[in-house]
């Protein structure tokens, strides 16, 4: 039976009472809506309004601090002819696919290790969460130093260990810059996968593993035939969230490369910000931001349908 807010509220008094604020609130319908109102208002103000306003803006030639004029799909047509937009689209897909795949594999590995019994497990779990807990801006500034050509600890280590004779330009070379932002995103997002999958792992009954072991199943067979099928719903949900976060990533790229070198790391969010806020072309900026919607909506629908079918 569905349990809604109305059914958990106390029954409304049926006898006649003078109309007062308290009396009105005692009514089930009123009380339910009063409880729901803050959440609904929050969603309307901070999710629905910006979303619909963004759609509205994308159909306008709207410059900052100036009235806009309706231009229909002109902003989207202009974007379709903008080579940088297509480069941004390609960058965003590469970034999202690579980082999500790495986080999925790494996070699963992390969860499997954390699910074992060993000394200092709780401490290790706490440390593994650090990348996720530390504010992105702060940790990204630390990465700026790590990837800095002059002060890079990676370059220093490679050089002094004799593995390399010259240093890498982590953020100056187009390919390495993309590799670097994917690596930093993976580092930051791994604990999200790890902890969520660990929670999923802990719901698997040890009896299943014991029964499989008694039937002679190898470690790999137990992993593929017990762990993965049971974890699949969690994996799908966490992947959906991760893709959304990664696809719309902003802070990390904005701080590390600002989309450079020569747009090699520009993503939808950073490009939308540059056009909307730095150039003051709000309509076009909104159109770039809205370009994120179709692929994300498709993904969410596909994954939700998949979960339902399962």
């Amino acid at each position: 039976m569905a349990v809604g807010p109305a059914s958990i509220a106390r029954p409304a008094p049926t006898t006649g009472r003078p109309l007062s604020l308290r009396g009105v609130l005692e009514r089930e319908g009123v009380f339910s809506w009063a409880m729901l109102a803050p959440g609904v208002l929050f969603l309307l103000a901070f999710v629905a309004y910006p979303f619909f306003y963004g759609i509205f803006l994308s159909f306008q030639d709207r410059r900052v601090a100036s009235p806009g004029t309706f231009v229909g799909l002109a902003n989207f047509v202009a974007l379709a002819q903008d080579p940088v937009f297509w480069q941004v689209a390609r960058n965003t897909f590469i970034y999202t696919i690579a980082a999500t795949a790495l986080k999925m594999v790494g996070g699963l590995g992390m969860a499997l290790v954390m699910n074992q019994q060993f000394r200092g497990k709780n401490l290790a779990r706490a440390f593994l969460l650090l990348p996720f807990i530390v504010p992105t801006v702060l940790s990204t500034v630390a990465w700026m130093w790590i990837l800095d050509p002059t002060f890079s600890v990676i370059n220093w280590s490679l050089l002094h260990s004799g593995l390399m004779t010259q240093t890498f330009s982590w953020l100056g070379n187009a390919t390495l810059a993309m590799v670097s932002i994917i690596a930093v995103n993976t580092w930051r997002g791994l604990p999200f996968y790890g902890i969520t999958l660990l929670a999923g792992l802990q719901t698997i009954s040890p009896d299943l593993y014991e029964a499989a072991a008694m039937d002679g199943a190898t470690l790999a067979q137990r992993f593929w035939h017990i762990t993965i099928p049971v974890l699949k719903p969690v994996l799908v949900i966490v992947t959906m969230f991760s893709v959304i976060f990664t696809f719309s990533d902003f802070q990390l790229v904005y701080i590390l490369t600002h989309g450079g070198p020569a747009n090699a790391t520009h993503l939808f969010a950073t490009y939308a910000f540059d056009i909307g806020m730095s150039a003051g072309v709000l309509g076009m900026g909104a159109a770039v931001a809205l370009a994120m919607l179709p692929p994300l909506a498709l993904l969410i629908v596909a994954l939700t349908l998949y979960l339902r079918r399962e």
Partner: protein, 425 residues
């Protein structure tokens, strides 16, 4: 214990009461706010907070709040203020912002006229960026110049005792310095100032232009631009580190102070920090004007100004404050506190005491004569900003440096500019 219903009833009652309480209103504001990008020169900000604001409050009873915004964040703050029509009454502006926010800024022609009359008149060049449709929309207090910052000791080591006068001579010096392990580092990445700070002057000095005065004729596809691009590729390959392609504005400062590079294009903040934190480097750092190209010598104009937002509840009070602030008694002391970081646009300060303590800042004053706004000689408004925000020019040079052909990078830039300036592609 309070029940949920009682809490809700109490909250609603309190909110209702607050909404119905009439707001007090008075003739003069009790306080006003000024928003500024945090200065690289901390004493400049401190002087406002600790000296100017208290003095003004003592004089008028109006408390002046100073709201600093992190470096690079001022345009976003101003956009938010203009769009929401709320926030500080007085704002700092830079580059071409008075043109972008024309509708949100009060006409201050009267105040500009009074200040100009008292302080020897305004430099003509600054009017390009603060006068919109013949109305002054902002009052400039100084330019943040972008000049050559170099190591005198390392240049001497390779036999260069005077900073090269032309780009070709600078390239020759850079070759020798790179061989000695002292490469150059000029930003070619997506920063907010140090990239355009030398790439526009480089383009102009070879005779290249983005767009014509009419704002309709895109001029980037020219032999002059090709010459500038070809030079830039050689300059990058023969004098610089590969990392400059990914640099943002902090990187060249760090690299210079980390003794990794011998020359860069920057404001005077490198020397200011060096004198404070790395005195040995400070002793061997100097500034020079950008080199000449075949068609002249140029610098970028970045006029820092104050403007009044149209939503200010008391425009007269805001104007009165700016009149007071731009009086020599105040402005003079504030500019001195700024350690000559801002080169003033008022002729009374051409030979002011602010230039005496450190002659190495003098080139920043001289650069005013050859400074031009971004996208010059095209229109100074929205399209110019779009070109800057999309890094059209920076990426044209950066792509050439990473190996793309001159023809291709210019064609890409031309396509982008035609779209920005709404001309036929």
């Amino acid at each position: 214990m309070t029940t949920r219903r009682e809490f809700l009833a109490g909250t609603l009652a309190a909110a209702g009461a607050a909404a119905l309480t009439p707001r007090s209103s008075g003739a003069a504001p009790k306080s006003m706010s000024v928003v500024h990008e945090s200065s690289f020169i901390k004493p400049f900000d401190d002087f406002f907070v600790k000296t100017l604001a208290p003095e003004y409050e003592k004089l008028t009873g109006i408390k002046m709040n100073y709201e600093p915004v992190s470096v690079g964040g001022m345009l976003t703050r101003l956009t938010t203020m203009a769009e929401t029509k709320s926030g500080p009454e007085i704002t700092a502006t830079g580059i071409n912002w008075p043109h972008l926010f024309d509708n949100s800024l009060v006409d201050v022609t009267d105040v500009a006229g009074e200040i100009g009359k008292k302080l020897g008149g305004w430099h003509e060049i600054v009017q390009d960026v603060v006068v919109v449709n013949k109305k002054w929309k902002a009052l400039p207090w100084g330019n943040i110049g972008q000049l050559e910052n170099y190591r005198t000791d390392w240049f001497k080591e390779v036999g260069v005792t005077k900073f090269p006068e032309t780009w070709e001579d600078l390239l020759a010096a850079g070759r020798l310095l790179k061989k000695k392990g002292h490469p150059f580092g000029f930003e070619l990445g997506h920063g907010f100032g140090d990239n355009h700070g030398w790439l526009y002057p480089l383009l102009w000095s070879y005779g290249g232009r983005e767009v014509d005065r009419d704002g309709k004729t895109v001029l980037i596809d020219s032999s002059e631009t090709a010459a500038a691009v070809d030079f830039c590729r050689r300059f990058f390959k023969e004098t610089m580190l590969e990392d400059v392609l990914g640099w943002t504005d902090v990187n060249n400062n760090k690299a210079f102070l980390g003794e990794q590079i011998s020359c860069t294009n920057n404001a005077s903040s490198i020397l200011v920090v060096a004198k404070r934190d790395f005195p040995e480097i400070g002793k061997v750092t100097d500034h020079a004007l950008n080199p000449h190209g075949p068609k002249g010598r140029f610098h970028v104009l970045n006029a820092q100004s104050h403007a009044i937002m149209t939503y200010a509840s008391d425009v007269k009070a805001a104007k009165d404050f700016l009149r007071w602030l731009y009086d020599d008694k105040q402005l003079s002391r504030w500019l001195i506190a700024g350690d000559a970081y801002y080169a003033p646009f008022l002729h009374a300060y051409d030979n002011h005491a602010m230039w005496n303590p450190e002659p190495r800042y003098m080139p920043y004053k001289e650069a005013l004569k050859t400074s031009r706004y971004h996208a010059w000689p095209g229109p100074v408004g929205h399209a110019a900003s779009e070109s800057v925000a999309k890094y059209v020019l920076v990426d044209m040079f950066a792509k050439a440096c990473r190996g793309d052909s001159t023809k291709d990078v210019i064609a890409t830039a031309a396509g982008q500019l035609k779209q920005i300036y709404k001309t036929k592609v």
